[in-house]
Symmetry: C2
Subunit: 387 residues, 2 copies
């Protein structure tokens, strides 16, 4: 481990001017300095004889009881979601749980047609792919929930705050036979004001976006219906026979630290620190974008955050959903790629390619370079305009 | 962690006479005493700031380079599979990789019929389920490879040594358009003599069966074709966006210990200890079964093991594939369940229900109770016969 620790403790990456900066993925490495500071408190020791069994206990099957406790505790501390009378299902990231909900909410036993799966545009770019990649006969992607007008059963993914555009969302289709999956990956105080303690039927969260530990691949679902929870666990059983116990125990430890850190204000408070960092990044991005005149960004209302108690909290989403307003640039992702900035094309979210999604949760160095390169475009672009 | 460590260091489970013993799953907890002895050597320390990113490095995407190195080193030490010029793909257990191979070996881009998936009876009971559970349009389960006689492309799972019956296997169908997946989960010295260093196109292994660390959910594939390896990684990306890094680093550490332990004979040598334990269990099972006269077990030839250098090594598989020879017992699993022994029904393996699969890799206490209860049946059964 020494080598790894050393690599962790110094900032070894140096991006050259020729190198592309990758802001396509939402790789949440921005919280690394915080976690380095907390490193000792959150250190986990695993002996060679732990975690031999597939199972955690006879009742929970794959879920480690420590993780269940810390998940419930954190939701109670933050007040973002109800946990009483909910079943917790653990997954290898919330990505696996999205598939588990599809499996659980369809009826694999009958021979009916595939259930339609929808989400309102702009929808999270992975929804179509994870729904369709195995050409399942149980479910199929049907695109934009706003224009969906078919009869019969359907499943709607409600992503709130929404990836890519950071807006708070409710269900769109609202028909009798629909089932809702609330993907609440970003419903944490660093990204958005906590405006209510939600209690939907099926709610998904992920360790990756909550604390930034994406490499651990831990997600969880809060599920009201016991049978749905059981079927989701069945999916996880068939797909991967459970979820890494090392990761589960580590997530329990780190979520426990986050809950405790919320007791006191200051730089050790994880969400407070996260909120300050996100606000700073958004302020800088908005400044540069305003200077350029080429792009626009969404605006978010000021709201009362139940967690901080502050009345005028603005959302600072993990992504900038940026629109290019120059008429001659039809594909913003392609244009930015030419400037060595890799972003995700609006098309991937069911949208116009004038939009791109830019990750704002990467390393500080990448973020700074993004701002520099955006400013440089402005220079070039103004130059062109003046010619 | 203290609580967990304490639970680990004492044998807290005490099975009551009324309790069912579960030998249905192959939960490999029998190696726990060895790992407890090695606990300190194999202790892993993970700091709070490690593993924030989804990615390991730009080339391997999800595979930790340390794990890749230790996997290749162990195969070189054991001599069971070629690693030179192979691509290593990491998965959340080999279960995920079985699905990844199906995805990679079909052609998701064309609109052709689902590819048929087969394996020779008795086949591993999870193959049908993991092939069919999402009703994929890419592939479908077609059952026994021995009776398979259709044209067109197909995929054959070749499980060697085979779960449930412990036999060494080659491909069965042998047609031009077939693709083979070699599931070599049990091709390790504690279970079977290593008779050759195999070099098939796609070979699957799992940490669970190699060392007994099933809770870590780490599997790996050795893949000859780069495009197949890439597609498998793509599957892992869509399905779970990678594999727990905590588990990967722990697997690297433990596999490294196993490689080093092979340098010297004695009780610290993992495979030597494993081989002795498995041989002892088999000797006891064969004794009890011989006494009963009710059941029969497969016999395995004595072979030259390249790893130990011994010429008359017998297989000691992880499961006893037991047949009930009493005419009035048509369903052996049901019969044994009545005796509070939970096993897996032969039907699940495409076989006669007179067969059951019994896990021999569980805890010592369970194994002893299994022998006691099997002996008690003999008594009851003889009693009935004499009436």
């Amino acid at each position: 481990m020494v080598r790894k620790e050393q690599a962790d403790s110094v900032n070894i990456s140096k991006i050259s001017p020729q190198e592309i900066i990758n802001l396509d993925h939402g790789d949440p490495t921005m919280f690394e300095p915080y976690w380095r500071k907390m490193s000792e408190k959150c250190t986990l020791v695993i002996s060679g004889s732990q975690f031999l069994s597939y199972f955690s206990d006879s009742k929970n099957v794959f879920l480690e009881p420590e993780l269940e406790n810390e998940i419930k505790r954190l939701h109670r501390v933050v007040g973002n979601a109800s946990v009483d009378d909910y079943h917790v299902v653990v997954g290898t990231g919330s990505t696996q749980l999205l598939q588990a909900t599809l499996y659980a909410l369809c009826s694999p036993d009958d021979d009916s047609n595939p259930v339609n799966v929808v989400s309102a545009v702009p929808y999270y770019s992975c929804y179509p792919e994870l729904t369709n990649f195995l050409r399942s006969g149980l479910y199929q992607w049907r695109g934009d929930a706003r224009t969906y007008n078919e009869g019969g059963p359907y499943i709607e993914f409600v992503n709130s705050p929404n990836n890519p555009d950071g807006t708070m969302r409710e269900a769109t289709v609202k028909k009798g036979q629909g089932k809702l999956v609330h993907d609440l990956a970003y419903y944490w105080p660093q990204y958005t004001p906590i405006t209510s303690c939600v209690g939907y039927d099926t709610m998904l969260f992920t360790f990756s976006k909550c604390t930034g530990h994406a490499g651990s691949r831990i997600g969880w679902a809060l599920v009201k219906d016991e049978d749905v929870a059981k079927k989701m666990t069945q999916f996880v059983g068939i797909n991967t026979i459970g979820v890494s116990k090392e990761s589960q125990i580590r997530a329990a430890k780190i979520l426990g630290h986050v809950s405790e850190s919320c007791l006191n204000p200051g730089p050790d408070n994880f969400f407070e620190t996260g909120q300050i960092l996100m606000a700073e990044r958004w302020e800088k991005v908005r400044q540069v974008v305003a200077q350029s005149g080429m792009f626009s960004l969404p605006h978010y209302p000021k709201q009362h955050c139940l967690f901080t108690g502050k009345f005028s909290t603005q959302a600072h989403p993990a992504f900038a959903w940026m629109k290019c307003n120059k008429e001659d640039i039809e594909d913003c992702e392609k244009f930015l790629r030419g400037q060595k900035i890799l972003t995700r094309n609006g098309r991937r979210f069911g949208c116009d390619p004038r939009y791109v999604r830019v990750s704002l949760v990467g390393k500080e160095e990448e973020f700074k370079l993004f701002l520099e390169r955006l400013l440089a475009i402005q220079g070039t672009s103004n130059g062109i305009n003046h010619m």
